[in-house]
Symmetry: C2
Subunit: 218 residues, 2 copies
């Protein structure tokens, strides 16, 4: 009934991709080991936090040397489920949807975008970044054929709820929601909402505080 999927270690999980970036860098440098201290410095974090976060992946470090780079990359990818490929579709091939279709980074994370859907007849039949665009009305027909597991929802917010219902009917198990609408879905459907506005809220508040401090100094 409740679809509050509380995930343990959520803050740690959200930091792991940043660690992975740095560790992959070290890997391409040919480094065998990388220490938590080095990762922490790179990201302005505390070394103890990095060690605690890495501990959840099950990897064991060597005192004095750090963590074995190759093992660490694999352990993080395994922990994040990024070693498994997931087929995804973009629903709403507007500005944001098109951008995400072409986001190369996702390929490294096992996220494979294989189709997009849009209502615009002039887009249907063409491709964005190599991804074919299908008519939105045929979504419930095509998604099962493609065996897509993930829907990336980037329709304008007035259409979010109804489109979401179609997606669920089509058998999608997991929705990455870029609209500012809270979706109502059955309990077994996974939803992660990406909220760009909340990022701007943080930025704007920090600017307000900075301005206050500035004028206070006069």
């Amino acid at each position: 009934m409740t679809n509050k999927q509380k995930v343990s270690y959520a803050p740690s999980i959200r930091r792991l991709p940043s660690y992975l970036n740095i560790i992959r860098h070290a890997q391409s440098n040919g480094d065998q080991f990388i220490s938590g201290t080095v990762i922490a410095n790179e990201l302005n974090l505390e070394p103890i936090q990095v060690r605690k976060d890495l501990a959840i992946t099950g990897i064991i470090g060597k005192p004095k040397k750090g963590y074995p780079v190759n093992d660490l990359v694999l352990a993080i990818e395994r922990y994040l489920g990024w070693n498994v490929e997931h087929k995804a579709v973009v629903v709403g091939a507007g500005n944001l949807g098109s951008a995400l279709s072409g986001y190369q980074e996702f390929k490294n994370h096992g996220l494979n975008i294989i189709a997009a859907f849009d209502t615009d007849p002039s887009k249907v039949g063409s491709t964005v970044h190599g991804v074919p665009i299908y008519p939105l009305e045929k979504l419930e027909e095509i998604i099962p054929e493609l065996q897509a597991e993930i829907a990336i929802l980037t329709v304008p917010s007035p259409f979010a709820s109804s489109t979401c219902d179609s997606i669920v009917k089509a058998g999608i198990k997991s929705i990455w929601n870029f609209t500012n609408i809270k979706l109502k879905v059955p309990a077994n459907i996974i939803v992660w909402r990406e909220d760009l506005s909340s990022g701007y809220a943080m930025l704007a508040v920090m600017m307000k505080i900075a301005l206050k401090n500035e004028t206070a100094e006069l």
Copy 2:
């Protein structure tokens, strides 16, 4: 020296934009009051959390009725600094940069994107969603002329550091960083990093857990 701008109530701040959406909806419905309970139900949150969050804006509710809608909208906007307009530029008019340039939602938040910069000569001189594109090399010259305060950084990550340096030289005070690079900036520069990968990390982990529970039921 340290640019760890710790903001109090960060989790509350990040939830406020969602509340604002719902409250504006109520406002356009002509509602005079909205209760924390209603907001909470809409977002699958606890009413006490909504009340606590709204308390930081300084607004006072009426027992039995809830919060006055018009006052609440203004109070949240004021608290978030969204009542102040900020001029912004997009640096890197690729897929994501173009998408953000056309993101209408931002206008409602006082974020006014007035220019974009790119290295691609075929883009320079044209516009994206009405936003003029300038050559990236002229960034340090043009930004001061435009009196932009915010840079939205959407260049490919190999160029993030050097571009960031130019941005800082140009006098930008605040950077919304969409690259996966941790930027090195002077202490007085505000940075908020938006990390799309961390969202996918959460989604992928939730999918892994769901799969585990499923197979456990057999």
